[in-house]
Symmetry: C2
Subunit: 195 residues, 2 copies
């Protein structure tokens, strides 16, 4: 026995991605075996190697694609307005983008230590690019007198950490709507940097 019905690269490829994302997010990269992923897809373990050279690359590509999507989506937002407008745009974007992909986000910042040094460096580079977008906003607001920030680097990381916290508890259909959550975080972020 070998090739099964309905087998095709266009189908199996994405299904492997989806299964890996779900399983890595749920149990962690190290705790998930190639056989578990294969079983979830409905295929034997060996078949996975038509789509990834090894387990490490599977993780790396997941994270790399996620970070690229993040940067591309933020870029597509466009610019305009003053620093406060830009900050508000950033907060809203960050919350919504991340809540739409909880599994990818979880992986992207929980599995960094399971990347090889080379892969780690590349992902870190992408992450830095995103942080720089926020730091640029804060820096500009500080220059123009709109914000009052002791250290823009600290503030950047503090704001991102604060926003990331939303993923540890928010569940759609819960007590608060997405708009209410966004409003609450925006209030806190705005006040934490405003002069």
């Amino acid at each position: 026995m070998a090739r099964t019905q309905g087998s095709h690269s266009d189908i199996t490829g994405p299904r492997i991605r989806e299964a890996a994302i779900r399983l890595f997010a749920r149990h962690g990269y190290a705790a998930v075996s190639m056989r578990q992923i294969a079983k979830d897809v409905g295929v034997q373990a060996g078949a996975l190697y038509n789509y990834t050279p090894d387990k490490q690359s599977l993780l790396y590509r997941l994270m790399r694609d996620h970070m690229r999507e993040l940067l591309a989506a933020y870029d597509a937002l466009g610019q305009g307005g003053d620093a406060q407008d830009a900050l508000r745009r950033f907060v809203g974007f960050h919350i919504r983008f991340h809540l739409e992909r909880p599994d990818e986000v979880f992986i992207a910042y929980m599995e960094l230590r399971n990347l090889t040094p080379d892969n780690f460096a590349e992902i870190e580079d992408l992450r830095r690019k995103y942080e720089n977008e926020l730091e640029g906003i804060l820096h500009q607001g500080q220059q123009s007198g709109l914000f009052s920030i002791a250290d823009t680097k600290i503030a950047t990381l503090a704001v991102i950490a604060m926003l990331n916290g939303v993923m540890t508890w928010y569940r759609s259909g819960g007590r608060l709507s997405l708009d209410e959550v966004e409003q609450a975080y925006w209030d806190m972020v705005r006040r934490s940097v405003t002069a």
Copy 2:
């Protein structure tokens, strides 16, 4: 060959703890084997089982003890002053306590998913207790008109997330002193909740 020179429960026990903390923090619970821990201690894998019934309990006790220490240390801080004083005390305590134990902290919130359901529930209970301390402060400040917070539950988690961010970047001997870091975070936290 068997029992080696200088072997004693009082020595090996703590060394196993320390090795497990370091290795779990560095590579993750699932990626660290009992043999690696044993090698780090300078002992055979079998010897570990004089100190822990199994690998899971090793992780659980690490996290449980850490959370208990956290709660005990915060309790020992004492009370007094208004909500703003209490909040300042909380911020300073949280930053300092967590920066003193980066490995334990890392484990305590990265390895939750590797706990059995029972163990997970117990750790979550302790974490909740700690969060309630902060929520109490915010709630009291809101009642007394000192703070202006839309939702104390969100604010609690946002503040803790913000403070936890410090551990992702702070290194002693870096650009900023501990006092400067504490001051910067306190400024942001205060402004984010103050009326």
